[in-house]
């Protein structure tokens, strides 16, 4: 008889580790299974060319919730936070670079060199973010309201959320209700006039959704992102994973890498009994927590006969159309963008029309001729990721659809690389000749490597109907119709990015039941 656990967590990404840590801190016996040789999932730094590494597939750690750092004393395990939001360079094709720093006053000063009106607009914008933050953070940092039934308890929960909203004051509340359903283009057009600045501010609203800037409800995505954003983890996602791993081990979590789960085991009553590994080994547990995507959890880790028709319907219609590719570049010199050196983060967009034109081809299963780039140069703060004097440029590329018409074969990837380099050449002339090595990860590659269904970096689109009741009403409270099976990945509330919250909140639910 093999060992038995209270809970087995499938997937050793930031959410799997956070869930395990939360459970072990309450004296649960926990095992984490990771299919890859390394922990971290999309937060793991990767060597993509000999001597050159990225800081992680996603590079933004500004959304990792600070309350988790305090609760688990992650600083003790080497975690360092740069309390300020990093300066982001917003680039224009005309060679301009706006350095948007964390401090509103200095950011507004930087903007005023382009437009006084935009500087005033930015202050207004930040004041609004500050005003709505209590409500949105409350929404994102707590268990989602239960909408599975409409009994007294659920209505009370909704009522409490309503009170938090009302507390913003009538004016702010009405403004939030007005702008949240708007397109991000309409929203920002009211406040700004300079095209590339608007586009750069809007960009995060489009990550992980199947929309362009003219689509309704994109403002909501932007507001959520802004309300979550805080200081970055020093050393990037990999440093966060290291701290989580140490903390989890110290709390007694057992971690196995190279241990791909094959199936979740159920007994005759369809209750979870454990996990079978791909090698055939069976591990017993009272509960299983999956940090995988909903598709992987229900389609791959369970047998078709084990899920009900309504669950099958929900999974099938959970939308996760991946539109992001990753291009990693190894270059033999420090890189400047539009003449600005030592820029760790940079974004392009140029104008709403250009961003919309970048999105259009995705609808017809082609990638953007001029993609929107979300650039990270990890070597600026972490020079040891490349040989001395060299740099790593790691780019999230929008839009590159998973279901590309011609398929993601080598020549399609080559074409994408060429387009990214051509676009980058406009901001950083000579980058192509400085190229030492490169890696293109298409959405298909992301699916293969990280088990991201359709290569969707957020485990499913951020669309209104897939937010609070994420992934779908049947499983919106981290529970599933399968007794003993729980969800704790980015496919659950509050959604994608590196926040740790799906893992933490999922574990809270398990603590009540396991």
């Amino acid at each position: 008889m093999s060992k038995s656990y209270d809970i087995i967590v499938i997937g050793g990404g930031h959410n799997g580790l956070t869930a395990a840590l939360t459970l072990a801190a309450k004296n649960k016996k926990v095992l984490v299974l990771e299919k890859r040789p390394v922990l971290g999932g999309i937060a793991a730094g990767e060597e993509f060319h000999p001597g050159y590494s990225t800081a992680g597939l996603l590079h933004d750690t500004g959304n990792f919730r600070k309350k988790l750092i305090q609760e688990f004393n992650l600083q003790k395990f080497g975690l360092k936070i740069n309390p300020e939001r990093p300066t982001v360079g917003i680039l224009s094709k005309e060679g301009q670079c706006l350095q948007l720093s964390t401090d509103t006053e200095s950011a507004a000063r930087a903007i005023s060199t382009f437009s006084e009106r935009d500087a005033a607009g930015y202050k207004e914008y930040q004041a609004f973010i500050l005003a709505i933050r209590p409500f949105l953070q409350n929404l994102l940092d707590e268990l989602p309201p239960d909408l599975s039934a409409l009994g007294t308890k659920q209505l009370w929960g909704l009522f409490k959320k309503g009170i938090t909203l009302r507390r913003l004051g009538k004016k702010t509340m009405m403004e939030l209700l007005k702008v949240a359903p708007m397109s991000v283009a309409d929203f920002l057009n009211e406040k700004f006039e300079t095209q590339f600045i608007k586009a750069g501010i809007a960009a995060p609203a489009l990550y992980g959704s199947f929309t362009g800037p003219w689509s309704s409800y994109t403002t909501l995505n932007l507001l959520m992102w802004e309300c979550m954003a805080t200081g970055q983890v020093v050393g990037g996602p990999q440093a966060l994973i290291n701290a989580l791993e140490q903390a989890a081990k110290t709390a007694g979590v057992e971690i196995r890498t190279n241990a791909p789960a094959d199936k979740i085991m159920l007994d005759a009553n369809r209750t979870v009994t454990g996990v079978k590994l791909q090698g055939g080994e069976v591990l017993n547990a009272r509960c299983v927590a999956s940090s995988c995507t909903p598709h992987v959890t229900f389609y791959d880790l369970l047998q078709p006969s084990q899920i009900s028709h309504s669950l099958e319907h929900s999974v099938k219609h959970y939308r996760a159309r991946g539109t992001t590719a990753k291009v990693n570049l190894a270059v033999n010199k420090p890189i400047a963008f539009n003449g600005t050196e030592d820029l760790e983060f940079a974004r392009t967009g140029n104008s709403f029309d250009e961003m919309e034109r970048a999105f259009d081809p995705a609808k017809y299963r082609a990638f953007s001729p001029e993609p929107v780039l979300d650039i990270h140069v990890p070597t600026v703060s972490n020079p040891q990721l490349a040989p001395s004097g060299h740099a790593v440029v790691s780019v999230l590329v929008h839009y590159a659809p998973y279901d590309l018409k011609e398929g993601w074969k080598a020549d399609a990837k080559k074409k994408l690389l060429d387009r990214v380099l051509k676009t980058l050449e406009g901001y950083s002339p000579g980058i192509t000749t400085a190229l030492v090595g490169s890696e293109v990860l298409s959405p298909a590659d992301l699916e293969e490597r990280y088990s991201l269904t359709n290569g969707h970096i957020y485990h499913g689109e951020h669309a209104v109907d897939q937010l609070l009741t994420r992934p779908f009403p049947l499983c919106a409270q981290y529970t599933t119709p399968v007794p003993g099976l729980y969800l704790c990945g980015n496919g659950s509330h509050p959604g994608g990015g590196i926040t740790g919250m799906p893992g933490y909140l999922g574990a809270q639910t398990m603590l009540k039941n396991c």
Partner: protein, 529 residues
């Protein structure tokens, strides 16, 4: 000082006339002022070519509230709507799909394209009809004011809350999807065949500046299932004598109750004294006074032209300026020498007696939208056409026909600037005729007369700002307590004794009549008049 009225209504569209009728019925002295020589606004019939009566703009009736017909005795005054039996989709490959009022007949047609879809089709109708009932609870009452704690408002909220609760959790979530998803994603939940999804999805985009893949468009699908003729859910119909017939019935009803109606009486401005509306000035300089003024014009025109910026507080001005109109459609009206026949299904049978959709695929529709986003009209647009003369031969000389085409996308803001639309008017008309001719051989030879209405023309003739047929986009942030603007959504405006009764107020566009009715009833119950 001239004659004193209880209310002067600016604009003789169907909502203005309905509002007038309700107020007159309650014994108030009412005057309606219409700038054109005909009544009806966008619901108007005109003889544009000898012997041919066109429904110039709005061309079908569906959402008209049945209790208004009863309460205003409209049937007695000539209101007659003939139900439409079919939605026809010709396809470029020679095939076609006809969806009929008779569900069995539709199922057989759909089954040719997908067996599975034909099985789901009745279930879809059932669920949508069910949700349509919730929507009815919304459109038949003034919008709740969520920021008020007045007992009446709380009762209104609770009534809505109960309607939601009665839906049950599954339908509640479906309702969230309906409000936020794209029409296409929503239909994907049910259907697999594009031949079915494409013509169904377009009901989500009519009159909006959005594509079938744009989030938030699923909601308008519901309108199709709320159409309610004589208590029968989801039927659409033709008004006898053209759409103007509805307006004329409303006008006759209003007059029978004692309302006074003047045409060719364009209003220049609302007279405001010490922040209170006291009357109107006509273009000819005449001043007319009344205890209240009611505007049937869109919010932009009401606040910015009739009232004027000087009378508006900064917050109200800001909200009015951000109110989105952005017309996206045009209209092409054709007088034909003989019946237009479709090569894929020839003859003048029942299949072309309803509405005909040129919507041969999802990508076709989306590409039409893509062009519009960057300020061009679609070179291959979505067209919704009807041949009303097959149902109501009185509209044209014997054997002759009318082909009335709603066309999308024709964005008001073209790259060259809206004022340059007249230069592109005929090119736009040609595009529409060329598109139709691909399905109707010999169409061009049949044309006796053609009228092309661009969004610019709709603005110039009907006074709809930016040519928006709904007096403002039907997007979530412009509905309910935010239509037209927060704080002034209950038909009141920021000017004391000035009210609004057009489609720019809750519940919004279409020939529904609800805005006019609810405005009148709100005024009467609050003793504002």
């Amino acid at each position: 000082m001239s004659k004193k009225y209880d209310a002067i209504i600016i604009g003789g569209g169907h909502n203005g006339l309905i509002c007038a009728a309700y107020l007159a019925k309650a014994g108030r002295k009412v005057l309606v002022l219409e700038k054109r020589h005909v009544l009806g606004g966008a619901a108007v019939s005109e003889e544009l070519y000898p012997g041919f009566t066109f429904s110039v703009a709005s061309y079908v009736v569906s959402l008209f509230r049945p209790h208004i017909i009863r309460e205003l005795e409209l049937a007695k005054h000539g209101y007659e709507v003939i139900p439409m039996d079919c939605s026809f989709l010709p396809l470029p490959n020679g095939d076609s799909l006809a969806r009929w009022a008779d569900p069995q007949r539709s199922r057989r047609e759909v089954a040719r394209f997908s067996k599975k879809d034909s099985e789901v089709y009745p279930e879809f109708s059932r669920v949508m009809t069910h949700m349509g009932k919730l929507a009815k609870a919304v459109i038949d009452h003034p919008a709740p004011n969520i920021s008020s704690i007045h007992p009446k408002e709380i009762a209104n909220l609770l009534r809505l809350g109960k309607a939601f609760k009665d839906l049950g959790p599954d339908l509640l979530h479906l309702n969230i999807k309906l409000v936020t998803m794209s029409a296409l994603d929503f239909l994907d939940l049910w259907f697999e065949s594009e031949v079915l999804k494409a013509p169904m999805s377009v009901s989500g985009i009519i009159g909006t500046f959005q594509g079938v893949r744009s989030p938030g468009t699923a909601y308008v699908l519901l309108h199709h299932y709320m159409g309610q003729l004589d208590g029968v859910f989801r039927s659409w119909g033709f008004s006898k004598g053209g759409t103007g017939g509805v307006s004329m019935a409303c006008a006759r009803s209003a007059m029978s109750f004692g309302a006074e109606i003047r045409t060719e009486a364009p209003v220049k401005q609302v007279v405001i004294k010490n922040g209170v509306a006291t009357g109107v000035v006509l273009e000819n300089g005449d001043e007319l006074y009344a205890k209240t003024v009611i505007s049937n014009l869109d919010p932009n025109r009401t606040y910015l032209k009739m009232v004027g910026e000087d009378h508006l507080e900064p917050d109200v001005l800001k909200d009015i300026r951000r109110f989105k109109l952005r017309g996206s459609s045009g209209k092409v009206n054709l007088a034909l020498d003989s019946v237009p026949e479709f090569s894929c299904r020839p003859g003048d049978g029942d299949h072309i007696r309803g509405d005909i959709a040129i919507a041969p695929g999802i990508d076709y529709l989306e590409k039409a939208y893509d062009q519009a986003k960057y300020g061009e009209f679609s070179t291959r647009p979505y067209i919704n056409a009807v041949i009303p003369t097959l149902t109501d031969p009185s509209l044209a000389p014997p054997g002759k026909h009318i082909l009335s085409c709603f066309v999308q996308y024709a964005p008001y803001h073209i790259k060259e600037g809206a004022e340059n639309w007249p230069k592109y008017r005929e090119a736009f008309g040609d595009t529409v005729v060329d598109t139709l001719a691909e399905y109707i051989p010999g169409l061009k030879e049949k044309i006796l007369f053609r009228q092309v209405l661009t969004p610019w023309d709709i603005e110039q003739t009907m006074g709809l700002t930016e040519g928006n047929i709904f007096q403002g986009e039907l997007s979530l942030e412009q509905l309910l307590f935010q239509r037209p603007v927060a704080n002034y959504s209950g038909y009141k405006t920021s000017i004391h004794k000035l009210w609004m009764c057009g489609s720019g107020t809750h519940p919004g566009g279409g020939i529904m009549g609800a805005s006019g009715e609810l405005c009148a009833k709100s005024m009467l119950t609050s003793r504002a008049i």
